[in-house]
Amino acid sequence: MEFTRQEMMAIATGREIRDGDLCIFGVGLSMLAGYFALAYHAKNAKAMTEGGVYGSSPVGGLPWGIEDNRISANATCFTGALDALGFLVASGKCDLGIIGAAQIDKYGNVNTTGFWEEPEGPHFGAPKTRLNGSGGANDIACGAKRVVVMLAHEKKRFAEKVDYLTTPGYLDGGNAREKYHYIGGGPVSVITTLGILRPDPVTKELMIDSYYPFSSIEEMKANTAWDLKVSQRVTVTPEPTAEELEVLHAVDVTNVLKRK
């Protein structure tokens, strides 16, 4: 079977969605993964955007934004951010959120705010590289029952400590989330360009759960800045089936995967 790294990543992410889930996606690859799942194995799942567009699917291509015409053409409800991120996510009603990341640490904490020249001391200076900030990712990570994080597996992105903690994973590990009484459960998986990490049930440290057919445990460890542990049950991620690829391509009308 022929498939690309991006296709493997999108399908692996889509497989995290269960039939019947209420899901919230961002734009780009996470939305592609989400709508792939809704079209393939999770036909009773429901998708919402953080701006409050419900019941829709992309028309004429993958949307440029969560509020644009392509995601608004066949909606059943337009409401607002307070409804979507508040009444549906902060309430604990949302089952699954998919978020992106620029940097992640061993406890699944995510940085999407910026990179600094050196680790920030007490003074908080201007960033060397400004990224996009939280958007709704922090809210999704605090409220959704399950969170899936997607990012490229590179050493600079898999850091011992994130430059800025935009979105909480398991903070310092263990039961650290309890201090803040987050209603959501935290990240259940980190889908990378090389494989899938999942948190240890007790320490919450991310471990290699599976690696893609074209990847290896060694390659994943070599591209991680901390000593990445391997689950005792580690496996090879099942490669995309012909049916999965067919549905993924049908959802990807505007060829986002080819553009990458």
């Binding site: 701006g51 004429g60 509020e67 607002g80 939280s134």
Partner: protein, 330 residues
């Protein structure tokens, strides 16, 4: 209720001033935002604006690139699939603009709290993250205890956070349609336009269409901003361009990318201003800058059926010109 139609340039000169706490709505990176109002603010030389917004938009991008604002409080600084916002990036990295980060829900809650005149809003999000512990406005306070301070739930004793409420002096909201009195209906996500219209001291609407008040009487449930809250209404079709207005026009892909590229440098920003702001005064000239072929292209989109119920109440350009002469501002 009086007729509140106002010319764009008059609205900017009457309601904006240097250093004010300004807000635009929806505050969406690709969707509805009061872009044309922002361009007129730049043309009139406004500076030191303290910008409160949900998310960045090309308006925030332009303000950062052109030195209109020096402080921003927002949840997002990108342009979604159009990428990083170059004007914002360079301004924040160089320290010209101080950017205070919140999340999308916390910005919504801050506007809600501002609208209700609450002293603060309890936060179950942002706490435990660097949005709580780091403040760009108070860079030497670490861990910051005054941006989202800890509060104790008086009922359970559990510790949460307190979000500061947001009360802009002025919000300019892009709406799909408004009547001359300021009743407004918008299509697509509301984002926080409902809360914003109630949080700000003054509210101005920028409308793609002016419709008869009978339209509001037919669909009163859909009027999310009532005339009671509104100071003035600017009729300006395609006012969110190059962003989209659901039901009316798509985002202009070519211009979204080209504008962002230009805003990446001082020379490009000056060229942008010359080509796309200084080149027009009237609405007709504004449309000529976009070009009729481009207008036809973005008006043909998958959402136009959403406008169908309202078309019979849309006022023509001639009718709007006549109504303008009867306005309280005439």
């Amino acid at each position: 209720m009086p007729n509140k139609l106002i010319q764009l340039r008059d609205a900017v000169s009457k309601y904006t001033r240097d250093g004010m706490v300004y807000c635009s709505g929806g505050g969406l990176p690709v969707g509805s935002d009061s872009l044309v109002f922002g361009k007129e603010m730049l043309r009139q030389g406004r500076k030191n604006i303290h910008y409160l917004t949900h998310c960045s938009s090309q308006q925030v991008n332009l303000f950062c690139a052109a030195g209109v604002c020096d402080k921003v409080e927002a949840a997002f600084s990108g342009l979604e699939v159009y990428g990083f916002a170059n004007g914002i990036r360079h301004a924040v990295e160089s320290g010209r603009v101080i950017w205070e980060d919140y999340s999308n829900l916390s910005m919504s809650l801050r506007f809600l709290g501002g609208a209700l005149r609450w002293p603060f809003v309890p936060a179950t999000v942002n706490i435990g993250s660097d949005m709580q512990y780091r403040s760009a406005f108070k860079p030497d306070e670490y861990p910051c205890k005054s941006k989202i301070p800890e509060i104790t739930d008086p009922f359970t004793g559990k510790v949460y956070g307190a979000l500061p409420v947001a009360r802009p002096e002025l919000v300019v909201i892009h709406v799909t349609m408004a009547d001359v009195e300021g009743n407004a209906i918008f299509l697509g996500t509301e984002w926080s336009r409902f809360e914003l219209a109630r949080a700000a001291d003054q509210v101005i609407l920028q409308a793609d269409f002016i419709v008869d008040t009978d339209c509001m009487r037919q669909y009163p449930n859909l009027v999310r901003i009532p005339d009671l809250l509104v100071e003035a209404v600017i009729p300006w079709q395609l006012g969110a361009w190059p962003q989209c207005s659901v039901g009316v026009y798509d985002s202009d892909e070519e211009h979204m990318a080209g504008m962002n590229k230009m805003l990446g440098t001082a020379e490009g920003t000056a060229e942008f201003r010359k080509k796309y702001i200084d080149s027009w005064q009237t609405h007709e000239e504004f449309l000529a800058v976009i070009g009729s072929a481009k207008i036809d292209k973005i008006m043909k989109n998958a959402t136009t059926h959403l406008m169908d119920p309202y078309r019979k109440w849309i006022k023509s350009d001639q009718e709007i010109a006549a109504l303008m002469t009867q306005s309280k501002f005439a």
